[in-house]
């Protein structure tokens, strides 16, 4: 870049990306999700999945779980920027490899196939707490809960048994043991 034609500096060295799960406790008010999501898009951070719902009706607190990737510096920035938002109460950050944290995602699979394949499909799901929510002669809707990458794999492998539609919640997280994140 000896002859950069830009008024701006050239990008520095790139660091390695890690996957992190960021959990944010926010006031459940209008626009709060837009603030959080807008912060990510505005600053060029990644969102792989997003799960949000109110968890405390008395205090009006919602819990947002975001799966994101970034360099350690970017992950730090994400946390610090989130903490600056007025409706944000606290921010937790877990590495995907963290053994002390449970990550789960729920998925609904719809299969349209003959009965033989429908049985195979259900069997294939057996490690992931499968529940049959709906059943006809030609179809089945199965609910499973698993890790993100397990669901990724499943949705690829099950097409041969007639998987036609997938709906997923995005990962949610909770620490193991008696400790509560403060």
């Amino acid at each position: 870049m000896a002859n950069s034609k830009s008024a701006y500096s050239v990008a520095g060295k790139k660091q390695k990306n890690d996957t992190h799960i960021i959990v944010v406790w926010v006031d459940n008010e209008a626009g709060v999700l837009a603030r959080v999501v807008g912060l990510f898009s505005g600053r060029g951070y990644n969102i792989e999945s997003l799960a949000v719902a109110e968890v405390d009706q008395k205090e009006n607190i919602s819990r947002i779980t975001i799966v994101t990737t970034g360099t350690p510096q970017v992950i730090d920035q994400i946390k610090l920027q989130l903490k600056k938002l007025v409706p944000v109460h606290k921010v937790a950050d877990f590495k995907r490899e963290d053994k002390n944290v449970i990550f789960k995602e729920m998925a609904l699979f719809k299969f349209v196939a003959n009965s033989e394949n429908l049985i195979k499909a259900f069997k294939a799901c057996k490690n992931f707490n499968p529940v049959v929510l709906d059943e006809t002669k030609k179809s089945k809707v199965i609910q499973i809960t698993a890790l993100r990458r397990e669901i990724d794999k499943m949705s690829k492998n099950l097409t041969k048994f007639g998987l036609v539609s997938v709906s997923r919640t995005g990962a949610v997280a909770m620490t193991r043991g008696s400790d509560v994140f403060k």
Binding site: M1, A2, N3, S4, K5, S6, A7, Y8, S9, V10, G12, K13, A30, G31, A34, R35, G38, G42, Q73, D76, Q77, L80, Q81, K83, K84, L85, V86, H89
Partner: protein
């Protein structure tokens, strides 16, 4: 039964309780109920601008020169969108603003009503926080919260969007009591251990430097005093960012001048070669650091900032200290005095080699330029302006471009809050309305907008505001007929292809001044410059000063893009002697 107040009245009750004396604004359909109440609140004076962007920048100038939050009041739709540039500008430069916008009535929101826009949606990324008031009972609390958010921590703009029906509705108003709690987001997070570590680093350093920024000014005048005390107590050199100018006296020997892209040779080389860098209230902006990978490679870095997200954002630091500069400096000085008495004397020997090196860099005289007897050199114009105004307490605003950098380099600031410039966003058109705001805050003081002819045309309409309120602001235009900084970059990087950077049909600024009802003065030669400046200063009316300067002059020294601090491009004198070596020249 307690008295009921309308939403519009509550807005003013809140402003009164927040000790707001001036608001800048422009009326329109969705804020009419608020404008209707104005007559009943004598303690609040409204300044009618000519464009909502002007209201925003005026409020910024007011805030930055006075330390109080600036307040603007605009209507829905275009009123709000016109204010967006000023809000973004304030967000980038950490200026406390409270923007009140009208909104279409609640039942029309979302119907694409006349002059409706998603104001809170549009301004979400350019405010610290914003609110759409949906219930009259929330209004007072939101208003006070808005002031709290704008002024605490790292200051910044906030916006309160009030639908017209809410302005009419009535409710009770409880008088406001200021509470100290900061929503759990307290700002001093440093410990005595941090301070001890700084003192340890300070006492060991052989090549130290203070690198200070706008955070010192935002922390209040006391912070500047403490900074001076610390700098004198250590004997260390100090450099400042564009926004930090004034927190340390520019004519002091320990001051190396501004650093960064157009900073001095000595400041940038000291930053590159130091072994200890103490960043106080600056944010490692890309105009400061140059190439990040080669930024000050051998130094230990201390970063004192109120905003935790500023730390390690661009540059990894060794010792972060999160807190208000005033309290950090207080603790540092206290500890220094206790543990190292007469430090500056005992330390003198340790850093004497460093000062010798700095003197060598200084002897390059990187701000020098080639003078002329025929044409006014822009640097000369600023120097003369400085010499003729330095005995007064002068407030300077600027637009954005070459003139801004020349002003930063050649006008010497000795006090905080005297220098208002758009640094982060780089908003052309900032200076004139900002000068209006500064003059409102300081009616008796001299306020000069050092301007470029291209920038000033962007918000020229605010001259009308200045005339209406008898604000004797001085618009000092360095007129080179080019968008100078654009032309400079085109010369250096785009083979002198001056694409669209020449303004072919400029107005006659003297006649324009007369048309606005103010005074127009033109200076054409260096010989007449002083007399004309004195004529400007003697006028008690607003003045547009058209200073015709050298059209080809470039702003040096300069760090070309993507280069580290030690590869500066010096001025034409130096280039002739071919002193720049290696990569630094490849760009020329």
């Amino acid at each position: 039964m307690p008295k009921l107040y309308s939403g519009a009245e509550i807005v003013f009750k809140c402003l009164e309780d927040q000790n707001v004396s001036h608001i800048f604004g422009y009326p329109g359909g969705a804020v009419l109920p608020i404008y209707d109440e104005l007559k009943n609140f004598n303690s609040i004076k409204h300044i009618l601008v000519r464009h909502e962007q002007g209201a925003g920048h005026a409020a910024e100038g007011y805030a930055r020169s006075s330390g109080k939050p600036g307040v603007l009041l605009v209507t829905s739709g275009p009123g709000a969108t016109n204010a967006v540039t000023a809000l973004t500008d304030a967000y980038m430069d950490s200026v406390p603003l409270v923007c009140i916008t009208g909104q279409v009535p609640t039942h029309l929101i979302g119907t694409d009503a006349f002059q409706e826009c998603d104001t809170t949606g549009i301004t979400r990324p350019c405010t610290k926080h914003n609110w759409l008031v949906k219930d009259i009972n929330d209004l007072a609390e939101i208003m006070h919260k808005a002031f709290e958010v704008a002024t605490t921590g790292r200051p910044g703009p906030v916006l309160v969007d009030i639908p017209k029906d809410i302005q009419f509705q009535k409710t009770k108003y409880r008088n406001y009591k200021k509470v100290k709690k900061l929503n759990g987001k307290s700002h001093d997070k440093f410990t005595q251990k941090n301070i001890d570590e700084v003192i340890e680093l300070i006492s060991k350093a052989k090549k130290p430097i203070f690198y200070t920024g706008g955070g010192v000014i935002n922390s209040g005048p006391k912070a500047s005093e403490l900074l001076r005390e610390l700098v004198y107590a250590t004997g260390f050199p100090i450099t400042s960012t564009l926004q930090g100018l004034g927190c340390f006296p520019a004519d002091d020997n320990q001051f190396l001048g501004m650093l960064g892209m157009h900073g001095t040779y000595e400041a940038n080389n000291a930053m590159y070669n130091c072994d200890l860098m103490i960043n106080i209230g600056a944010r490692f902006d890309d105009r400061i650091t140059g190439k990040i990978d080669e930024f000050s490679p051998k130094s230990k870095k201390v970063h004192i900032d109120i905003d935790p997200s500023s730390i390690n954002k661009n540059v990894k630091v060794d010792l972060p200290i999160v807190g208000d500069i005033k309290s950090v400096l207080t603790s540092t000085l206290k500890t220094l005095k206790k543990s190292k008495k007469n430090f500056s004397k005992s330390n003198k020997h340790q850093i004497s080699n460093w000062w010798e090196k700095i003197q060598k860099w200084r002897s390059k005289r990187s701000l020098d330029y080639i003078g002329s007897e025929e044409t006014i050199k822009p640097q000369y114009a600023i120097e003369r302006l400085y010499e003729l105004t330095k005995d007064r307490d002068t407030y300077i605003t600027t637009e954005v471009g070459q003139h801004q950098m020349w002003a930063a380099q050649h006008y010497k600031f000795n006090k905080p809050n005297r220098w208002m410039t758009s640094g982060g966003l780089g908003t052309m058109g900032y200076g004139l309305p900002a000068a209006v705001g500064v003059q409102i805050a300081h009616p008796k003081k001299l306020v000069v907008d050092i301007a470029g002819e291209a920038s000033v045309l962007m918000t020229m309409q605010e001259m009308s505001t200045a005339v209406q309120y008898n604000l004797p602001i001085k618009i000092f235009i360095l007129n080179n007929e080019y968008m100078g900084m654009v032309r400079q970059w085109q010369e250096l990087l785009h083979d002198k292809n001056y694409s669209e950077s020449y303004t072919a049909a400029l107005p006659d600024f003297v006649k324009m001044a007369e048309a606005y009802g103010c005074v127009g003065i033109r200076a054409k030669t260096p010989e007449e410059l002083d007399d004309k400046i004195i004529e400007m200063l003697n006028s008690d009316r607003p003045v547009i000063f058209d200073c015709l300067v050298d059209k080809q002059e470039n702003c040096f020294p300069m760090i070309p893009s993507g280069k580290p601090h030690n590869q500066m491009l010096l001025g034409p004198k130096d280039q002739k002697e071919k002193k720049i070596t290696g990569k630094g020249r490849t760009l020329v």
